[in-house]
């Protein structure tokens, strides 16, 4: 398989006043297209920072980051925003849906960045909601949905623009076991049946079992890289 994510000597330093905090030190990593990767490690190990850099939400301090052949470590903010909207789907721990919009309109949000007309946007969002099993909840607002359903809407939003890469930051962290299982099954389905590359930060070993590859980070360094056969 082709390499989708290519990371070389990646580092990230945060500066707060006079304090300088190096969160990632010279990380080197390749992730193949179609892989399902779990990023694990103790709090403060740098896993969310690494995920944010891969998702184009933050810029590295040093090193290179190439995704799909495109070096994204050096692009400007506007170009990065455009790149994100076309290439990455995001799933967050607390769903981060717009409370004033219906599920349908939430899922349509990434498509506002495209040239699609209203009817096309509606159709695509409908398909995405169907894929996560929430067609009948399309006109419900987030407050009218359970946590698990909200996360499924977030997944529909992540896939609606058909990105190659889906990144999840503790996507099951706020869910009960049954909802978490549903969400993980959905991510597995997207990976297995639709070829999406999934990179997920998690503290939960059970969630990590859904991944083909588990990366352990500690103090900003990659300390373990384990590959397993998926069930």
């Amino acid at each position: 398989m082709a390499t989708l994510v290519e990371i070389r000597n990646l580092s990230k330093v945060y500066t707060r006043g006079k304090e300088r905090l190096e969160v990632l030190h010279s990380v080197n990593l390749d992730i193949e297209e179609g892989d399902f990767v779990a990023l694990m490690g103790p709090s403060g190990s740098g896993k969310s920072t690494l995920l944010n850099l891969i998702g184009g939400l933050d810029s590295p301090t040093g090193g290179t980051l190439t995704i799909g052949g495109q070096p994204i470590h050096s692009v400007g903010d506007d170009a990065l925003a455009k790149w994100r909207s076309a290439n990455v789907g995001f799933v967050f721990q607390f769903y981060n849906l717009m409370p004033a919009l219906t599920a349908q309109k939430n899922v349509e949000l990434p498509l506002l960045m495209t040239d699609l007309g209203a009817a096309q946007r509606k159709r695509r969002a409908g398909i995405a909601l169907q894929l996560v099993g929430l067609s009948e909840r399309a006109n419900h607002k987030p407050t009218e949905l359970s946590g698990g359903q909200q996360q499924r809407v977030a997944i529909a939003r992540a896939i609606v623009s058909d990105p190659k890469l889906i990144v999840g930051d503790e996507p099951t962290g706020d869910l009960d076991r049954q909802s978490a299982t549903e969400v993980l099954e959905m991510l597995r389905m997207l990976n297995r049946d639709h070829g999406k590359t999934v990179i997920m930060v998690t503290h939960d070993p059970k969630a990590a079992e859904y991944a083909r590859r588990t990366l352990q980070l500690d103090k900003g360094t990659l300390v373990e890289d384990a590959v397993r056969a998926l069930a």
């Binding site: 944010n52 455009k82 909207s85 004033a100 919009l101």
Partner: protein, 387 residues
């Protein structure tokens, strides 16, 4: 337009707060509509192109000081003058001081210089032929239920009669109309013959209040005005000649500077509005920092977020402001209906809406600017983690 639902949803995220903010915007623009309607009426009276070829000559020292009647022939002889007439303020009261309306005694040819006042030839002749004859505007006649043939007793406030009486009984011989709705206030006046007034009054005989001069070429009005003022230079009755528009503006400002009053009130109202709506917008954006960050995650640029917040702010002002101006339109219509077209208020239309919409957009941008900049500058990672 594809972002409209997003802006609308953000605006009505907190319905109660938005409702009360809209109410305050509505109140501010209702007031703006009413006051601008009054200001517009005064401005229209002094700026209307009708009468652009008329000059007014008054005493240089004060509008209240009389000028000699003998000046008429000398003004008429000034090159460039087509016609001259004169008038004198009377200031009578009908039945009760609260029934105040302008009343003046005028020269025989006064109506010749005001062709925009429509009056029948018969009534015009009757005004000319009747010593105690008077004409009134249609609005004033309607207000008091007067009709031709009525006797109108006016109580003098400045000019008693020779016999010491303060009552001047006039015969209503004509009613004139003004077609231009912006000049309807001119129908709220009474005119009677100066010759009767001068003959019967106790003091200041042979004097007039001001002259009205029609020039042949309005482009040469300044030169004609200078020539008229030169006639009385260094005398005890020096004159000041100016266009009718300038005279009207100066006359109105004797009572009050309407522009200044309206400007001061609206300045205070809009200043308060800026603080109020600015606080609302700041609060609304502060609550939505994570949501704005998510929009950036999904591909909105920094400028895109800036534009969304500014549009939300402008939409809030336009919704409340348009409702306020519409309500002002209804209110002005009702006031004009109840008090007659002579009430100094313009219908809330055209230019008032243009100015109002301009203010709505401007205030919207001003109050949205800081929250929008905050939204534009936020860093995704910090905003999502609540830093």
């Amino acid at each position: 337009m594809k972002y409209f639902h997003l802006i609308w949803a953000a605006l009505f995220r907190r319905k109660t707060r938005t409702f009360f903010t809209l109410l305050s915007v509505l109140a501010a623009f209702l007031l703006f509509g009413l006051l601008d309607s009054v200001r517009g009426a005064f401005t229209a009276a002094s700026n209307n192109v009708t009468g652009a070829d008329r000059l007014i000559t008054v005493s240089k020292i004060s509008l209240t000081l009389p000028l000699p009647r003998s000046l008429l022939a000398r003004i008429q002889a000034v090159p460039g003058v087509a016609d001259t007439t004169f008038a004198n303020w009377f200031g009578g009261i009908y039945q009760d001081p609260k029934n105040f309306f302008p009343s003046q005694s005028v020269a025989e040819n006064f109506l010749d210089l005001y062709p925009e006042w429509k009056i029948s030839a018969e009534e015009r002749k009757a005004f000319h032929d009747t010593r105690t004859g008077a004409i009134v505007g249609a609005s004033l006649a309607q207000k008091f239920g007067w009709k031709v043939g009525d006797k109108i007793p006016l109580q003098a406030t400045i000019f008693p009669q020779k016999d010491g009486s303060n009552t001047w009984t006039l015969d209503l011989v004509g009613i004139y109309h003004v077609d231009d709705p912006n000049l309807r206030a001119q129908e709220d006046a009474l005119y009677f013959n100066w010759s009767y007034f001068d003959e019967a009054r106790q003091t200041s005989k042979g004097s007039v209040g001001w002259y009205v001069v029609r020039v042949i070429d309005r482009d040469r009005a300044d030169a004609v005005a200078a020539a008229i003022d030169a006639l009385s230079f260094d005398s005890d009755h020096e004159t000041k000649t100016q266009s009718e528009q300038a005279f009207m503006a100066a006359f109105a400002s004797q009572f009050a500077d309407i522009g200044l009053i309206v400007g001061s009130i609206m300045g205070a109202v809009f200043f308060t509005l800026v603080l109020l709506t600015g606080n609302t917008m700041a609060q609304a954006v502060r609550e939505r920092i994570p949501e704005l960050a998510v929009l950036k995650v999904l591909g909105f640029t920094h400028r895109g977020v800036l534009a969304l917040v500014l549009c939300e702010s402008v939409l809030m002002l336009v919704l409340g402001g348009a409702a306020g101006l519409a309500l002002a339109g209804v209110a002005v219509g009702a006031i004009r209906q109840a008090m007659g077209p002579s009430v100094p208020m313009l219908p809330v239309a055209g230019s008032i809406w243009e100015r109002g919409l301009g203010l709505m957009v401007l205030i919207g941008i001003v109050v949205g600017a800081l929250p929008a900049l905050r939204g534009m500058r936020l860093r995704i990672v910090d905003a999502l983690t609540g830093r």
